[in-house]
């Protein structure tokens, strides 16, 4: 009876296990994956890295030399589609959001295993959040992005495959933010003081250091750690238990692994790429000519995608609270700002400064964001239109010296700052100032130290400046810039005390956009926000650098490489036509 019982349990366990493996199928050939194909197994992807990893602990890591590796070892409840940038199910197969938007219940995939074969359950999720992320002992920035109205959500286990988060307020980006790495409770729980009061408070911070035996670093990502040779190489290899499959049921990833060749200079990395020691490389504009020359002979593909600019924006701001009262009056006129936009020769800037690797930017939302609205009003280069607008607001040359004057006869002129040493920005300023001069606007270009510029900007002590902001696909990231009391609302801090109707409406739109989980509804709010910003030109956007990538043609399923995810975002679907090649060299 005992023997029978044991056998029955094993059979039941195995059968149940096999039936319950809820893998995620990546639908190559369909939808956004239409340009991807079922691949073949084998080969290593070889990449360059500028430094050694400092840790294999993803939640502690802060530098890309670590996170480029640890990001491959782990997975989260949700994940971002590397092509569409939309949030999709990850380790959670689905979720429900309560009517008030405050309670999110995740249903986990069943039958999954960690890279060491241990079963994955809700206990791991609850441990990750309660024992690691929300644990004040752990020095992780991840905690900050989960704060809603200053409070962390609560996380509780409903059953073995269900977890529930309760928020302090509805927060649409939560689904994106909750996709952080889930850690294995069976490996790390004893290090958390939440579960083990006797644990060292530093234990989780020092866990999975670079000296840790590779087999101890366990994750749910497509790869697992294999080897680290300081100053030379990090090797990660295929996770045999990974939970994604291709349409034919082949378990991903196709690659045997990834090797990160450590070199300490970009020149060396570029040379290694040219020599066929690396498979992919992100060239700088000055690298392109060299690579173009060799492309055919070496089998290098160079991708410069005009539809994919980098995240972030470059703009010219006019300080509408500027200390000079006369300037302030004009800077507050939308006609003046539109005239200035008409004097930004974006195409010349693209051709002469960015070597063709740029696109005009018109919206505060990145072109790669799913919330980007392309049809905002555009005030493109048109000196004649600029001149008419300036005439219309009374800025005319009153004394015949070639410069437009204030009504009191003094020359209308302003100082334009940018950060000294940024040669691209300096050249853009020079082109803009020259075009302004053509219509009689006197611009005194003065590049200054970056820290001094930021002090002037945040202190409201500048007249005009050209600078940049980082960006992401999430428009709410712009709240600190565009809401009337935002810390980076540097073109008109007075909006906080005395908001204009437009500023009030933008505040409302940000509030509405973050409190709905309905993408289409949120899109409409952010669309209106983009139109308002483009019409009013609070910031005059200039040009955004294009995405560039180079790889050897032996590498397959590269169609989606983009600034959203780079090459690593596709590591689990990449495959090699000849698995024995690295770059253009036969290595095996």
């Amino acid at each position: 009876m005992k023997k029978f019982g044991v056998s029955f349990l094993v059979v039941a366990f195995l059968a149940g296990f096999a039936l319950a493996q809820e893998y995620k199928v990546v639908p190559f050939g369909q939808g956004e994956w239409k340009d991807f194909t079922v691949g073949q197994y084998g080969g290593y992807l070889v990449l360059g890295s500028l430094d050694n990893p400092k840790t294999f602990n993803h939640h502690i890591a802060q530098e890309t030399s670590s996170t480029d590796i640890t990001g491959m070892l782990h997975a989260g409840l949700t994940e971002v589609n590397p092509i569409t940038d939309m949030v999709e199910p990850g380790l959670a197969k689905s979720w429900e959001i309560s009517a008030d938007g405050m309670v999110i219940t995740f249903h986990l995939r069943q039958g999954l295993q960690w890279s060491d074969g241990h079963p994955f359950t809700a206990d791991d999720v609850v441990f990750t959040f309660n024992g690691v992320i929300f644990n004040e002992d752990v020095r992780t920035d991840y905690r900050d992005v989960l704060l809603v109205e200053g409070k962390l959500p609560t996380c509780e286990k409903v059953d073995d495959y269900t977890v529930r988060f309760t928020l302090a307020a509805p927060f649409r980006p939560f689904l994106r933010m909750i996709g952080g790495a889930i850690y294995p409770a069976h490996k790390l729980r004893h290090l958390s003081r939440v579960y083990n009061p006797d644990a060292d408070p530093e234990a989780l911070n020092s866990a999975w250091s670079v000296d840790t035996p590779p087999e101890e670093v366990v994750g749910m990502g497509p790869f697992k750690l294999k080897e680290f040779i300081p100053d030379q190489l990090v090797v990660i290899e295929r996770n045999p238990y990974y939970w994604k499959v291709d349409p034919k049921g082949n378990r991903l990833p196709y690659l045997d692994g990834i090797k990160y060749a450590i070199a300490f200079s970009l020149d060396t990395i570029m040379l290694k790429f040219r020599n066929g020691e690396l498979d992919v490389y992100a060239p700088r504009p000055e690298d392109i000519a060299t690579l173009k020359a060799e492309a055919a002979q070496k089998g290098i593909k160079i991708v410069i995608d005009p539809t994919k600019p980098l995240f972030g924006t470059t703009w010219i701001a006019f300080n509408q609270d500027c200390p000079d009262e006369k300037l302030r009056k004009y800077f507050r006129m939308v006609e003046f700002r539109r005239a200035m936009s008409h004097l930004v020769d974006r195409q010349t800037i693209i051709n002469n400064v960015y070597l063709g690797l740029g696109v005009p930017q018109w919206s505060p939302v990145s072109m790669l964001s799913p919330f980007y609205y392309p049809d905002v009003p555009k005030y493109d280069y048109d000196p004649e239109a600029a001149g008419k607008l300036l005439d219309q607001i009374g800025l005319i040359d009153r004394n015949g010296d070639g410069w437009r004057d204030f009504p009191d006869g003094t020359t209308f002129e302003f100082e334009l700052n940018t950060n000294a040493g940024n040669t691209i920005r300096e050249q853009v300023c020079q082109i803009f100032a020259a075009d302004c001069a053509k219509v009689g606007i006197k611009v005194n270009f003065n590049p200054i130290n970056f820290n001094a510029l930021v002090t002037k900007l945040l202190g409201g002590q500048y007249e005009a400046c050209l600078l940049g902001l980082t960006g992401s696909s999430e428009p709410h990231g712009g709240a600190n810039v565009y809401t009337s009391c935002g810390g980076l609302h540097f073109w008109k801090y007075s909006d906080c005390e005395d908001p204009t109707p437009v500023a009030k409406r933008i505040d409302e739109l940000f509030d509405l956009g973050v409190k709905t989980y309905d993408f289409n509804e949120a899109y409409e709010y952010y669309k209106e926000y983009q139109i308002l910003v483009a019409e009013n030109l609070f910031l005059i956007y200039t040009v955004n650098m294009l995405y560039r990538y180079a790889y050897y043609e032996n590498l397959q399923n590269t169609a989606g490489f983009s600034p959203l995810a780079g090459a690593l975002g596709f590591a689990e679907v990449l495959w090699k036509k000849n698995p024995n090649m690295v770059g253009n060299r036969i290595v095996g």
Binding site: M270, L271, N275, T290, L291, A293, L355
Partner: protein, 261 residues
């Protein structure tokens, strides 16, 4: 009449090679074809096959004493693949590049040596590019130097290096290859296919012809192997075609054959 017979003969000789690309066919062409550029194309096409199937010592032997220049070239390029990232010291590579018995052996050390030279100061590299002991060393130092200063380079500077007869041949060759990139990028200033062909055919300066030919390969690989083959044959029969222009077609043909191997 004699020329007609020759064409018929060429067509006959070529047919087996065009029918199927195999290592044996390529080796036969690289060794025995009467047209030097067909031999060269065969050599280029054999590089990966040699790298995958031949040991370092065998490749070294072929780079030294291969039956034709094309076989030596194939062995040299395959050897250079093996030496990249193989842990050879700077001294070892410097010995090869300065004392190697043939240009092909010396050239095999170039890529691996460049990875060691890249940390040198630009001035030292320039000096080596100008006065290195062999053309291969000048070339390796020159390419490394030009990569190092690429953000400050422009087409005019590179053309002046190519044109300067007081500079070393290796450095001028390196400059020509880098210059090829400036003929292709940025797009607004790129030369057209026609301009590249004109320069590769008719420039008075061999390095400027080579730069244009090097860039031209990037266009020619869009053609079929059959078209390229016929063009190589026709160029052989036409008088006064520059060596650089013929090389471009041979290089492209070699790439197409390699892809079909």
């Amino acid at each position: 009449m004699k020329k007609f017979l020759y064409l018929v003969l060429l067509g006959f000789l070529a047919f087996p090679a065009l029918a199927s690309v195999s290592a044996a066919n390529l080796e036969r062409m690289a060794t025995k074809d009467v047209i030097p550029e067909i031999r060269l194309a065969g050599g280029y096409a054999l590089v990966n096959y040699y790298a995958a199937t031949k040991a370092e010592t065998e490749l070294l032997g072929l780079a030294e004493g291969g039956a034709t220049e094309a076989i030596k070239l194939a062995a040299s390029l395959a050897l250079s693949q093996k030496w990249v990232g193989a842990g050879k010291t700077r001294d070892e590579l410097m010995t090869v590049i300065t004392e190697g018995k043939t240009p092909e052996v010396r050239a095999a050390a170039v890529p691996a040596l460049m990875e060691l030279l890249v940390t040198d100061e630009a001035d030292a590299l320039l000096e080596l590019a100008k006065s290195g002991a062999t053309e291969e060393l000048q070339y390796a130092a020159g390419k490394t130097y030009l990569q190092k200063i690429r953000a400050k380079l422009d087409r005019v500077q590179l053309e002046s290096i190519c044109a300067d007869e007081t500079l070393s041949s290796g450095y001028r060759k390196a400059a020509a290859e880098v210059l090829a990139g400036y003929y292709l990028f940025p797009a607004q200033q790129a030369l057209s296919l026609g301009q590249l062909e004109e320069q590769a055919l008719n420039s008075a300066n061999p390095y400027l012809r080579y730069a244009a030919a090097y860039a031209l390969v990037n266009f020619l690989v869009e053609e079929s192997a059959d078209t390229l083959y016929k063009k190589v044959v026709s160029l052989f029969l036409a008088p006064g075609i520059s060596a650089e222009y013929r090389w471009a077609y041979a290089r492209a043909l070699g790439l197409k054959w390699a892809a079909g191997l």
